[in-house]
Amino acid sequence: MNRRDPIKTQVRAGIDNDPEGPLASIQLLSGEPRRKLDARFRGLCVTIAAVSVLVLIGLLASILLQGVPSLSLTLLTGGPEPDPSEAGIRPAILGTLWVCSLCALFTLPIGVATAILLEEFQPRNRYGRFIYSVIQLNISNLAGVPSVVYGLLGLTAFVSMFGLFGSRTSQGGGLEIGIRYYDQFFSEGMRSILIPVSDPSRPVSEPVDGMQGIDTSGNPVTLKVISVGEALPTGDALQYTLFDDAEAGRITKKAWYHFSLPLGRGVLTGALTLMLVILPVIIISSQEALRAVPSSLRDGALGLGSTPWQVVWHVTLPSAMPGILTGAILAMSRAIGETAPILIIAGIVYISRAPQNLMDDFTVMPLQIFNWISRPQEEFHSIAAAGILLLLGILLSFNALAVLIRQKLHKPLS
């Protein structure tokens, strides 16, 4: 004992008081090394915590440095032009809006219903309990499936629908509504004339004299076909005159309600695929929200003669709503940032406008950003950084909304 450790001395004194006691012969270890270890570990912890804050700062700084100079109005209004100074992210923003709102529309009811089933309708027999535990385990496993795998599922199950409805090409095919096919001619008077096509699988129409068509404003016109070498008419007639070797191009016009099977690479497919990705997330967070409702409220409602669903509808669900909404918003912010499954089903395509119907091609913000990052030109990288800033801004406001809901709507329940 060459060091005077105050605690040790004290304890020692206690033991020494009883020289006959069983502890009398024990040599106490010094507490000093242990306390040093504790202090060192605490130091390590603080360092690591600081590092993780630094990483976040570094992440934000590197993006801010590259992105801020490229933030401009063009970014918000432009399409994915090949010239970096004109490139913008508007079609992608609108695509994200479409896909994610549709996705929320599908996912919320199914997710909340599943959570209600698992939390509020407990099975009463062994068989039912087994099925419930299988569903529960299955949901936690689904939450761990990589999102890119859901992309492949979407590719087979939604894009081509297992080939059940044939495949869709520019010649039609599959089941379609809200779409019209036209063959388009350009008359010698430089007017476009559309010939309605009843069967899109037939080859493109040949010009025939007296053919009925419509002009661009939808008025019916009769075509006049002349052989090559014949003199062109003059005046108005020129506008509806074609040479007999004129060639048509097949075009389509889609109504806003255009729908087809298989679903193809459209907005609807994107929404359904994202639904698969975030459904487990929404189920799990809704379950947690329902579990937080005190069971005394359920008992109270049951004791008044409510049916199980009435308990859910009038008591449990309203009480759990803030929690469910918070979880749903966080899940949606995950959906907004999800890239891989969308990339698998939509591929990288040039999209210059917002989707017009559920079947329309689309892109989403993170996919557009990915596209820009993978370009070799430096300018696109800084546009990508600006796009990331925009994306992070949206996500951050979503998170803020979730926090707000949690605080504003959260009432004590008992």
Partner: protein
């Protein structure tokens, strides 16, 4: 005992009593109707519950049938797929589908990621759960939440534009696309996952255990490392497994930063291709929809799915066991 005097105002009594008596005596709502509605709703709920099983079924079915079409192709043999380390599906003459090249790339990136995420995540969790004063907690938790909410494509950007240049500056051997950069970014991505799951596990350890140890004169370090961590070990292991599964399935970071050359290498300075990276390469390029290389995407996805499913399944089972032990 005195009678409640609020009942003693005689004016309302006969009146209100009679009226309410009449209302309460009226025929009640048809129970049949209520029951019917209840049955319909229950059926809907069950249907949505079974929907999640359907998704799993569909994943397995889709991956299985397309993988079968893959193996049916003349260009593919089992021996080649499971026995070769050359993955070369696109070049016409020398096609080879040796999945080990992709698995190796995945493993390398995952290993780098986990060597960052697991220790840092666990220590941060211990710190948050056992040491951190409230103020630090209030800063650190939101930071981790923000880190967890950042889309992966952003981490990809970070890896390519920031981590890679730093690595190249440190050591000239790093190529533009390299496993280390992707691995580090994946590690940062997984850190919040490890941290919050591990912290849950630590928090679940009963207070009494800690108090018992403190009562014996243990330091905070002793309590955390010798008492709480062992008690929460299965929960921590489950957190690790789930994080590994997440890293194995991570897609956009590796697609951007790891490169697109499938090779079986352990050198983190080299470019590698992971299973997910290959799928992205296929999806973003123009590949015909029916060639062997198209189906190879499903075979790779199947392999990936089996690996992650095994990890998450074991992770979830361990977690469930752990929770049962303490709840």
């Amino acid at each position: 005992m005195s009678s409640a005097n609020s009942l003693a105002t005689p004016t309302w009594r006969g009146d209100l009593d009679d009226r309410v008596g009449k209302y309460l005596g009226r025929s009640h709502r048809s129970l049949k109707l209520v029951r019917g509605r209840e049955t319909v709703i229950y059926a809907i709920l069950i249907a949505s519950g079974l929907f999640s099983l359907l998704i799993t079924g569909a994943i397995i079915y889709v991956l299985a049938i397309e993988t079968v079409s893959f193996f049916k192709s003349d260009e593919v043999t089992f021996a080649n797929f499971f026995g070769s380390t050359t993955w070369n599906p696109l070049l016409g003459g020398t096609k080879s589908f040796g999945i080990w090249a992709l698995i190796c790339g995945t493993m390398l990136v995952t290993a780098i990621a986990m060597s960052i995420a697991l220790p840092l995540g666990l220590i941060t969790a211990i710190y948050l759960s056992e040491y951190a004063p409230r103020g630090v907690r209030n800063v650190l938790k939101p930071v981790l939440e923000v880190l967890a909410g950042v889309p992966t494509v952003v981490y990809g950007f970070f890896a390519l534009m920031t981590i890679t240049p730093i690595l190249q500056w440190l050591h000239s051997g790093f190529s533009v696309y390299n496993a280390a950069s992707a691995g580090i970014a994946v590690g940062i991505l997984c850190l919040p996952t490890v941290c919050s799951l591990a912290e849950d596990a630590l928090q679940a350890v009963p207070r009494g255990l800690r108090e018992g140890a403190y009562g014996l004169g243990a330091t905070r370090f002793d309590v955390s490392v010798k008492v709480v961590v062992p008690a929460a070990l299965s929960g921590i292991i489950s957190a690790f497994l789930l994080a590994i599964a997440r890293a194995v399935g991570e897609t956009m970071i590796v697609a951007l930063a790891a490169g697109s050359l499938a090779q079986a290498t352990l050198d983190p300075r080299q470019q590698v291709q992971t299973m997910t990276g290959f799928m992205v390469q296929m999806a973003s390029g123009d590949v015909s929809n029916y060639g062997t290389e198209y189906y190879s995407m499903y075979a790779v996805a199947f392999t990936l799915f089996v690996m992650t499913l095994a990890l998450t399944m074991v992770g979830n089972l361990v977690r469930r066991r752990f929770r049962e032990a303490y709840e």
